[in-house]
Symmetry: C2
Subunit: 252 residues, 2 copies
């Protein structure tokens, strides 16, 4: 890849990283803060900020602070249009939650080396699995990850596992994904977080490709073998319904 | 600016332009479509797509089509947090609409050389001014533009006017902005679109800087001098209320 190309990719990544510095705790930022947070030279940050302002992705409040720009309003609409599930699909998630006795139902897709929650129906129990739409999670752990990787080859799974802490993950993850492929379902207990369990099943597009995992999540104490066996048919049913609706990432 | 810097800015702009090709009519795109729509070499598009996928801004549906990525879900949240007005402000917009006899009320901010609608209360009349939140409009015409440029210098206004079709705009726009500065309000009839009128007033931040314009919009036939004089006090009142709330672009 020629030098200039590498620079281009890097600039886009830097611009996205700069925007990622704005969150609930930091709704606005000064250039000084951005320099400190990125460790980039001030001239680079000033240039990036200027570009992002021109693209509508940053906005100067006029008090020396920058906020996310008005261009994001259009992107928000785009995100909603692409990722908001149709009513029928949301109803199926709600029914699965009810069938499980009130556990949280989530839909995950793979975005490169993470999995992202794109839809969920929050459970009704006092102790419940809470996950925000848009939340990114590691792809090297959890039942939904095993399902999302169930058609990946060894090199791909190894690359994902290399992001996990410790050397033991490569083999463990490969075994998990093979089991998910063979069983058409995955169960994990306390893998990503102690005391949290998940059961996930694959969702396919009309083209046949694996697009998502639909998962039930809750406390390990409630996810006994008997209980899991009890709601497995409903989970598989929901996964098949989402496959039929073919609605992940918008309709084709 | 060194060559590599220019390339970086260009890459970010290209990435944003590529995402802008996804809309209601084109919820998904193939690489081929993106090459045709941008006129860029295929290698450049493939590289950009790869970068955008890594950043979470594009997602491969698995059927050869790309859709806006899951990263936009986080950006949508960010946009909402920054630009959604507090209840009190939205109530003031609704009250102004009612005081005007049911015309549409919009709030615009300047984003570089455009004005963007960041909030609105749609009117109740059968013939009404309809504007979407996030919609970009030219900054060289309309009452809201005159207000947004009322503190700009001649060079800035000339630069904005240079984007208008025809040479007569530079002087006309400068006069309009001076009048808006002197009057603290602007009125326009059929400037952006024949038959559409607007009346706008400035909103300031606590820091004293001009942040937005709040505007009433509707058909010219209804915006007679008497009617405009009638709702002007309510409009100025709303502009002052938004200034006190200091809520444009999030709270400081």
């Amino acid at each position: 890849m020629p030098e200039s190309d590498a620079g281009g990719v890097r600039s886009v990544q830097r611009a996205v990283d700069l925007l990622a510095l704005f969150d609930a705790e930091h709704p606005s930022r000064s250039v000084r803060e951005l320099v400190d947070a990125t460790g980039l030279p001030k001239t680079t940050v000033v240039r990036l900020v200027h570009t992002l302002e021109q693209c509508g992705l940053l906005w100067s409040r006029g008090d020396g602070h920058l906020v996310p720009g008005t261009g994001l309003l259009r992107w928000a609409e785009l995100a909603g249009r692409t990722w908001r599930l149709p009513e029928e699909a949301l109803r199926r998630l709600a029914e699965l939650s009810e069938a499980s006795g009130g556990e949280t139902v989530s839909v995950y897709v793979r975005q490169r080396n993470t999995r992202v929650c794109v839809a969920r129906h929050e459970g009704t129990r006092i102790l419940r699995h809470v996950v925000r739409v848009g939340a990114e999670m590691p792809l090297w752990s959890g039942a939904a990850s095993h399902v999302l990787l169930s058609r990946s080859d060894h090199a791909d799974v190894a690359a994902v596992a290399s992001r996990a802490p410790g050397d033991e993950w490569a083999e463990r993850l490969w075994e998990h994904t093979r089991k998910a492929a063979a069983d058409g379902i995955a169960v994990s207990h306390g893998e990503r977080e102690p005391g949290v369990s998940g059961v996930a099943a694959p969702v396919f597009a009309a083209s046949g490709s694996l697009t998502a995992a639909v998962a039930l999540g809750g406390p390990t104490t409630r996810f006994t073998d008997d209980v899991v066996a009890g709601f497995t048919p409903a989970l598989l049913d929901t996964a098949r319904a989402l496959t039929t609706l073919d609605c992940i990432g918008g309709t084709a």
